[in-house]
Amino acid sequence: MKHPHTPALVPASTRLPSRSRRLLALAAPASLLTAALPPAARASETRLSAELRNRKYLPDGISIDFPPLADTGNAVPITVEVQAPAGLEIRSIEILLPENPFPPAIKLNLPKPQARYRFSTRLRLASSQDAWVIATFSDGSQRGAFAPTVITSSACFDET
């Protein structure tokens, strides 16, 4: 079943080939995560990450509270605050996790666009990565910012 809100941003080629997906399914549970490589050596970064950076979104007005070192990839708290540019209002805010199997983590649609919006949630990260926040405004324009995090390794494997 196609994921209901796969955005146009995610080209089909970023979906993992079926063999990798089977391997992922057979691998240890999502809680067993590998330590991150330092940013310079992130050779396995997805195309979506590069694409998001190439769009050169303006990050102004977006502030992201996200721990640089996460206790666990299972639940990483994030607080996002968006201030719309003068004369515009926020229509929607989206969080994308480019290194996750399904990058769109959450999308908030505001039926009554707001000049300012702040929300919190807890993300589940498959690996160390940048969390991207894309805000869409009343005139269709977008701004975007990201915050990196490193997922730390569990000490012991827990099969219970």
């Binding site: 549970p29 999502a30 639940a75 769109p104 983590a105």
Partner: protein
């Protein structure tokens, strides 16, 4: 509507007409991503909340599309504007197995 999963809704801030308060909602949903395998080696199918609608006095104020990138027992904190006459906050959720639920709470107006 089935309300399989427990949840808690609370408000932070002075609940007075015209004020903006913060609503905090957590629901005990497993949010299975579909990537995990159980002890027997069988895949645990995806089971996530994929729509959340928040209303204040029947007016839709927030429409959330959650994905697999949210944690289990998901938590949402968001602003709400207290209407002049006070009222009720209603949260309707739906997961991709067809389960639905509704949480309602009257805004405790302060004098």
């Amino acid at each position: 509507m089935s309300n399989d999963y427990p949840s808690r809704l609370s408000f932070v801030g002075t609940v007075r007409p015209g004020n903006t308060i913060e609503a905090r909602w957590i629901i005990g949903h497993p949010m299975d991503s579909g990537m995990r395998v159980d002890d027997g080696g069988k895949r645990i199918f995806r089971n996530i909340i994929d729509r959340v609608r928040v209303r204040v006095n029947d007016e839709l104020v927030l429409d959330i599309e959650p994905g697999t990138g949210l944690s289990a027992n998901p938590y949402f904190a968001f602003p709400l504007s207290v209407p002049a006459q006070g009222g009720t906050v209603t949260i309707d959720w739906r997961d991709d197995h067809g389960r639905t639920g509704r949480v309602q709470q009257v805004l405790p107006l302060e004098k």
